[in-house]
């Protein structure tokens, strides 16, 4: 049964942080690219936000159960696209992550993330249990491991880590037993040294830079250091819009995308950061609240999947900006410039809206 959702049923409390963050992001992109060869990048960002909003509205109209119904097909599509990008993708910054679709350079892993949320929600809700067996864990591992492996091969370590975190959150909510959790941690810890040999040189460099910044002051460690200088020199009140020397003179790397928060911290100070972090906090808490109100477990898994991905993005990106984590190339949701990223977040929020609108039905 379908209910005609009215405009007042829309999740306005969710839209407040979303629009707020987008607006701050647009202004910060404006500040970071003024007068350079990327001048006017904020208008592109606005276009994507507009497209994203439309996509969100469309997706919120379609019953999420219908989406979940298509999970196997979507799963195959995502695998196909990931293989396709490996074969035909465009190489940027030494990684094959983009597919040229004419109107968009699609970052396939962003779409894959969304699909994995759906697939995971479908699979976990099908289990109909409160306790996950080892066999269940294995099946989830294989199911999500396959696309993750393809993403790792691009290589896109950051997105792969986000998916791992997403699966972890899903398992936790699906009834992961503590002993299994501990076992998985131990296993991961043992596998970590082996993983080191699989890493690409630039990934190794980033990790080295993180743990021993003084040795690589010119490259990744340099980026982290410049980001910290930008943040620290901003002080409490900030240097003002367009006044951050670190940001304006190009010391902050990719200041319109991955390091957008460093530029904001420099120009708007701790006050600006506080506003942004509180907006993210309210966004995430609203998502968890929506999950708690979900009409069924599938809806809950969908919303929490979205929350996990957004939350991990915020955590990893912010920690990178203040030097708590290595540089991984994870954008800040809703604020960093990037069509795929913006589109993904809005589509994901469309699913969340969907779940909220249908909380009383069935």
């Amino acid at each position: 049964m379908r209910t005609e959702s009215k405009i007042r049923d829309f999740d306005w409390p969710l839209m407040v942080p979303v629009i707020g963050l987008c607006a701050i992001g647009v202004f910060q992109i404006w500040s970071a690219t003024r007068g350079g060869n990327l001048d006017g990048l904020q208008w592109k960002q606005l276009e994507w936000i507009a497209i994203g909003l439309v996509g969100m509205l469309v997706l919120s109209r379609i019953d999420y159960h219908a989406v979940l119904e298509q999970a196997p097909v979507l799963y195959l599509i995502s695998l196909g696209l990931l293989i396709l990008v490996k074969l035909l993708g465009e190489t940027k910054f030494g990684a094959k992550r983009w597919l040229n679709l004419g109107f968009i350079h699609l970052q396939v892993s962003e779409l894959a993330k969304l699909i994995i949320i759906v697939v995971l929600a479908r699979y976990l809700s099908e289990l109909r249990t409160e306790r996950l067996t080892l066999a269940d864990l294995m099946k989830v591992g294989v199911l999500t491991g396959l696309p993750t492996l393809l993403i790792l091969l691009q290589p896109d370590l950051g997105t792969a880590l986000v998916i791992v975190a997403l699966v972890g959150a899903g398992l936790f909510l699906a009834g992961l037993e503590w002993k299994h959790a501990v076992a998985m941690f131990v296993l991961a810890a043992l596998l970590l040294p082996a993983a080191w040999h699989v890493l690409k040189p630039y990934q190794k460099q980033r990790l080295t830079a993180f743990f021993r910044p003084e040795e690589t002051s010119q490259t990744s460690g340099y980026q982290t250091q410049q980001s910290k200088i930008a943040v620290g020199s901003g002080g409490i009140r900030g240097k003002g819009f367009g006044q951050g020397s670190q940001n304006q003179l190009g010391f902050v790397p990719v200041r319109w995308a991955d390091f957008i928060l460093a530029g904001l911290a420099e120009e708007q100070g701790f006050v600006g950061v506080l506003v942004v972090m509180l907006l993210y906090l309210s966004l995430l808490l609203r998502l968890v609240g929506t999950a708690q109100l979900a009409g069924d477990r599938a809806g809950m898994f969908l919303v929490m999947g979205v929350a996990a991905v957004i939350g991990v993005h915020v955590l990893v990106n912010t920690a990178m900006v203040i030097g708590y984590m290595p540089v991984t190339g994870i954008p800040l949701p809703l604020m960093s410039h990037g069509g795929s990223s913006i589109l993904f977040v809005f589509l994901a929020l469309g699913l969340v809206m969907n779940v909220r609108l249908r909380r009383f039905v069935n």
Partner: protein
């Protein structure tokens, strides 16, 4: 409906709530991170940010010029560019190194060496990789500004010296300061600064050197200048006015020509150095930028010693020019009667050894008194005089007249020469003085040595009746009066009369160089480079090295002299033919110029009187004050 739909399972509310707490915890942790950077360590990072964006670029102060006594420019500056290499982006630098080396015409290994050498300096300090950019270099840098953002041009001032080594030794040269100079400067000099290394450039470095300014610029992450902040202006160095007369210097240089030697011209009334030349010379331009190792080695190993300022550093036997000192000693000490005379047979035995006169083999001087002995430079007379005076008396007068000690000229590296004495020999050789040595010293041979400057100073002092002035190159220098060693008028008269005869009497050794209408006095000298016995021993040494040095000292006019000249021509054989003509050219130029100026001054003076009515009151007052004696008498 599929089996996965349905409401049978309830939601894991507990774990969802745990997620909320996790979110809050994570946000708090991140905010703590920002708090630490932005509030607690904010000042530290603000400093780092400032250091990032601001670079200080020196604004090089031009050195002071050197002007001659009439304000003519001897040493000037010209603008030039140094190529700076920015080293902040090491990978980019590494990548473009071959390209940069090629573009600037440098050896890649050489460039790498320079970069390695600067490893210890802060990264934000650019280094000079090419001190003097060619137009090609400038074009290369300008055209690659976008794709090679590692090179910058720094405007500097370079020294423009006279060409062909003109006055090179007195002027000196500049170069990059060494560690010793930096230490000695007490923080005033920094690495890379250009300072005087030799000659007047070194002597008056503090005056000549300005104070570099500082331009503070905003740079972007590539090190490119994007804006300017306040600027500290450079304070240019002060010019120095020299006592040198460009016209006389030119004559000294050209007259000395390719001969190896030196010429010094002093004003005996005040010690002003009117000209100072030393040949062979070097080209100070070679040092103005950066002297290459090979060039330096070549200059140092050259047997003609082009880096030596012979005027103040050549310590050689003065030869017969020393007879002026002997004559003064004789008349002043009164140890020998005024009418002392000897008969010259061309040679005479002293202490069992034969000493020859220069006329030996060509005749004899016959009966000679002091005047004749000076005019004809009779050695036999001075051998006998030396024997009578004894070494200690000779030594005393030579020292009192300025030999054997530095004159104190305002140039670095002056040598003091040597006046031997019994005590000296005892001290240095632990041997007794042989009376035979006195005989050699009496004609300026043996152990006695002096520099051309010392001789000019000494002769000038004698001609001035014992008044000495410290030779100096800085116009208006203070405290140039030296303790005088009064010589009686009669002595001065006699000695200068003898020197007048040398040039003006028919039998004088320098009669060839006499000048009509000028009371030109002088004394020739031919000094053995090595004793006759030594000559025999060193038979294999090339002949040129053993040929006698030619000397000439002279002054004019005979009474109240205005100019004194000392000329040394190494291996010039005869003072009269090699050295005296140089002195004559200089004295002649001095008088030509003087008479020319007097004519001109006379004309100007006439104009003054004609324009009298138009004078301002101040000018008139000044004229009255400056007016000669008769004006006073008129008032009385």
């Amino acid at each position: 409906m599929s089996d996965w739909q349905g409401r049978d399972s309830k939601l894991p509310q507990g774990r969802l709530t745990a997620c909320s707490y996790a979110v809050v915890a994570i946000v708090c942790l991140l905010l703590f991170g920002f708090w630490k950077l932005q509030v607690l360590d904010s000042e530290y990072f603000a400093q780092l940010a400032e250091r990032n964006r601001i670079r200080s670029i020196p604004v090089i102060a031009p050195r002071g010029r050197m002007l001659d006594r009439e304000g003519r420019v001897l040493v000037d500056n010209y603008p030039s560019f140094s190529v700076l290499l920015l080293r902040e982006d090491a990978p980019l630098l590494e990548q473009h190194l071959p390209e940069i080396a090629e573009g600037l015409g440098l050896e890649p290994d050489d460039l790498r060496q320079q970069i390695d050498a600067a490893r210890g300096l802060p990264r934000f300090n650019p280094i000079v990789v090419k001190p003097e950019a060619t137009p090609g270099d400038i074009a290369f840098i300008e055209s690659h500004r976008a794709d090679l953002p590692l090179l910058e041009l720094l405007m500097v001032h370079r020294r423009k010296y006279p060409s062909e080594g003109f006055m090179a030794h007195a002027i000196g040269y500049v170069g990059e300061v060494n560690e010793k100079q930096i230490e000695a400067s007490g923080g005033k000099l920094r690495p890379g600064d250009i300072a005087g290394k030799f000659g007047l450039e070194k002597q008056y470095n503090d005056t000549l050197m300005g104070e570099d300014g500082m331009r503070r610029v905003i740079v972007n992450s590539l090190g490119k200048e994007v804006g300017r902040l306040e600027q500290k202006e450079a304070v240019p160095g002060h010019p120095i006015h020299l006592t040198i007369d460009y016209d006389l210097q030119q004559i000294a240089e050209s007259s000395l020509g390719p001969q190896q030697g030196a010429a010094v011209v002093l004003d005996p009334r005040n010690g002003e150095v009117l000209a100072m030349a030393s040949h062979p010379a070097f080209d100070p331009k070679d040092f103005a930028v950066r002297v290459s190792k090979e060039q330096w080695q070549q200059l140092n190993e050259d047997e003609a010693h082009p880096l030596m300022n012979r005027a103040i550093q050549a310590q050689l036997a003065p030869g017969s020019t020393f007879k002026v000192v002997m004559a003064t000693a004789m008349l002043e000490s009164k140890a020998v009667p005024e009418d002392f005379s000897v008969t010259c047979y061309g040679a005479e035995d002293f202490y069992g050894r034969q000493f020859k006169c220069h006329i030996f083999g060509k005749g004899t001087h016959g009966h000679v008194d002091l005047h004749d002995a000076l005019v004809k430079s009779c050695d036999i007379f001075f051998y006998n005089l030396g024997k009578r005076l004894g070494i200690d008396r000779i030594s005393f007068y030579a020292t009192q007249l300025g030999l054997g000690k530095k004159t104190g000229i305002d140039l670095p590296g002056e040598q003091e020469g040597l006046v031997p004495s019994e005590a000296w020999k005892e001290r240095v050789y632990k041997q007794k003085w042989f009376p035979g040595e006195t005989i050699s010293v009496a004609i300026g041979q043996g152990a006695i040595t002096s520099t051309p400057l010392q001789l000019a100073h000494t002769i000038g002092g004698v001609a001035m009746g014992g008044q000495f002035h410290r030779p100096h190159l800085l116009l208006g220098a203070k405290d140039t009066d030296e303790p005088s060693f009064p010589i009686s008028e009669a002595t001065t008269e006699k000695v200068s009369q003898g020197m007048f005869g040398v040039v003006n009497e028919a039998g004088g050794t320098a009669h060839l160089v006499h000048l009509d209408g000028v009371e030109f006095c002088g004394k020739t000298g031919s000094a053995q480079v090595i004793s006759n016995e030594g000559k025999a021993r060193a038979g294999h040494v090339s002949g040129k090295q053993l040929v006698d040095n030619a000397w000439f000292v002279g002054f004019a006019p005979r009474r109240n002299p205005e100019i004194v000249v000392a000329v040394l021509v190494e291996h010039g054989v005869h003072g009269a033919t090699a050295a005296a003509p140089v002195a004559r050219d200089i004295i002649k130029a001095y008088y030509d110029k003087k008479s020319h100026q007097e004519n001109k001054a006379y004309t100007v003076e006439m104009q003054h009187y004609e324009m009298d009515g138009a004078q301002t009151p101040q000018a008139v007052a000044a004229m009255v004050q400056a007016a000669p004696e008769p004006a006073k008498k008129d008032k009385e």
